[in-house]
Symmetry: D2
Subunit: 141 residues, 4 copies
Amino acid sequence: MSSTNEAFRFHHDVTVRFRDIDVAGHAHHADAFIYFEEARWAYWLEVVGRGLDELDYVLAEGSVRWHARVLWPQAVRVGVRVSRIGRKHFEMEYEVRTREGAKLQSGRTVQVMYDFEAGRSKEMPADLRATLTAYDGPFAP
Amino acid sequence: MSSTNEAFRFHHDVTVRFRDIDVAGHAHHADAFIYFEEARWAYWLEVVGRGLDELDYVLAEGSVRWHARVLWPQAVRVGVRVSRIGRKHFEMEYEVRTREGAKLQSGRTVQVMYDFEAGRSKEMPADLRATLTAYDGPFAP
Amino acid sequence: MSSTNEAFRFHHDVTVRFRDIDVAGHAHHADAFIYFEEARWAYWLEVVGRGLDELDYVLAEGSVRWHARVLWPQAVRVGVRVSRIGRKHFEMEYEVRTREGAKLQSGRTVQVMYDFEAGRSKEMPADLRATLTAYDGPFAP
Amino acid sequence: MSSTNEAFRFHHDVTVRFRDIDVAGHAHHADAFIYFEEARWAYWLEVVGRGLDELDYVLAEGSVRWHARVLWPQAVRVGVRVSRIGRKHFEMEYEVRTREGAKLQSGRTVQVMYDFEAGRSKEMPADLRATLTAYDGPFAP
């Protein structure tokens, strides 16, 4: 069993911090979104080539499945991919695994393209659509 | 418009902290699970009458919709209810609103009854089922 | 024993969150700075009448003494005061107590007045010095 | 200028998370204690050879100096050392630097040896004193 899930082309390692652990002895459940986020930003920085200054989406929906406890100390491997692109939004999927490949958490987020200056949603830019499709597509319509 | 959503019998106020606010100027998206949790614990302490020592469930699934930015400073009002009880699990629903009633976040979590000593899931205890049903039921089968 | 320490004129209540509690069963030690911050902001909003848009200082130094464990659930009462004003900085002191008055944490932070546009420290404005002195002064030179 | 400060024999890298960044665009000031803690635990795991199950101290005092903003994305290097051992306590010092060596944060924590079962402080065990002294000593009396 490998931690590099073949369903994901992009992976990012996140070190679990002592502070993540709650009274039950495992990472607090909300930290799943933190691990997803670290991987999403790594994807954005490395695959898309965009940093904080060029952020043009907002999170609209998200879901998590907690499959097993995230223990400390360890670094987990997060698989992340774009799974669908709509006219004004795109979806991403995530899987958090131990380095030995055991599935810990999985989930999905929906991002809506957003024009922060105008204060409203906008269409997915063609160049971004092309970049995401070239890396993780083709996507189901 | 009232912040006391009539779909929820139980409400709990949570003060947004400065630390919740991220670089975008609003509460970080993962904090939705923190606000849900504060309300879930208040429900557990007040409605069920159980504290940390009697915890006998684990989180299996959760989802969030981010409707609007959570700004600081303010206290938000979180509605929480049990929405379904299965043989070994139960579901809870949440709504986070401003004190004026604007919807900010909504979501749902699925809890699985868990025997921490035995290390496995267990059936929903009859007395807990009765307490939850008396307060928030009847539930759809 | 009262939780309203007479050495402090201003107090602010902070609700301990479940997420604050770490594997040792008490609030994580770094959260002392969060509790201080909540009280400092309340002081700034209520005593000084300034919000986030008018922030003109940065933190330079801070210290904490952990006197007793911060347990959950509870709301703690934080006393906060300005204890000294220099030419370009000011100091604040904090005490976190249970509602029954038991001392939990105490500390101090040093703030340096900062011109964010110019990117350098600046002198304490005369009107701010007057406001702080009227409320918490006179201060030792 | 090297990020491996020669005053410290032990260094540990911590990846700054997006969640660490607050509305001012840099890591929240309380996170200094988190970065110190990550390095302290790494020291404890690697130098002392003790994990969570053998923890026998509590934090009594801590202080931080914020020298420069901690920006994202980056991994910072934390130097950590034991700087003094008393009869029932020991002190640790920390320095957080960029990989290029710029000093970001420094600080100190005081730990008191603690018998969690008995619920009271205890003397520094001779073997622990020997291990710490062999690695980071000799210490001033």
